[in-house]
Amino acid sequence: MTGQDERRVFCPVCSARFAPEGDLTEGDQVRCSICGQMLIVRACDNQWLGERRSMLSDDEIRDRVDGFAMIRGYGFNEMKEEIIDGLIGKRDAFGDFYCPCRLEQTPEYQCPCRPTRGGDVERDGRCHCGLFWKDSRER
């Protein structure tokens, strides 16, 4: 597979395509540059599809949240563990890691939610839930 589009990988968490660095091979592990999810690359219909690594496990959401913060340069505060417990509660009750501070259980609000992926933290200094912070020293 060659060309720009062909080297994009579809991320099932944020339903978007991103271009990882370097060449891709079936089975490679890459981190989605939009949401921070770790994905296993699969070739399908001449496209690269990302498969969620450790799908729905506690480790998956911890790794995604840490990965997203690392990519964006965001920090956390003392509420982190309680918010992660809430994300795990959402998975147990509603099937996936939706924002624990919202009522909506839709892909848009899969953590990090679309508003957060779209720059809420840059604008407000924090995400809706107060999980991600622009300045980790801020409270």
Binding site: M79, E82, I83, D85, G86, L87, G89, K90, A93, F94, P100, C101, R102, L103, G130
Partner: protein, 83 residues
């Protein structure tokens, strides 16, 4: 306090838990409704009430008499409850 206290919460929201914990620790009775665990028709009724009271969909919502407190706010709870 003779006012009845009602809390609209989400079962997964850490700030809702903090508000409930705060009131329990102060020995204050309250009625809490976890909105996410209601049936969808019950949810519609409650959401209509919440939107009328607060104009948004943010949790927790604490109702103490005429006072409506949105979010976990210990200072405000202390002030309204005279703690």
């Amino acid at each position: 306090m003779t006012n009845e206290i009602k809390i609209f919460a989400l079962s997964t929201c850490p700030y809702c838990k903090k508000t409930k914990r705060f009131l329990s620790e102060k020995g204050i009775d309250y009625e809490a409704v976890d909105v996410d665990l209601l049936t969808s028709s019950e949810q519609d009724d409650v959401l209509e009430e919440i939107e009328k009271l607060t104009g948004k969909r943010s949790f927790p919502v604490v109702i103490i008499g005429d006072e409506v407190i949105v979010g976990h706010n210990e200072d405000k709870l202390r002030q309204v409850l005279g703690l």
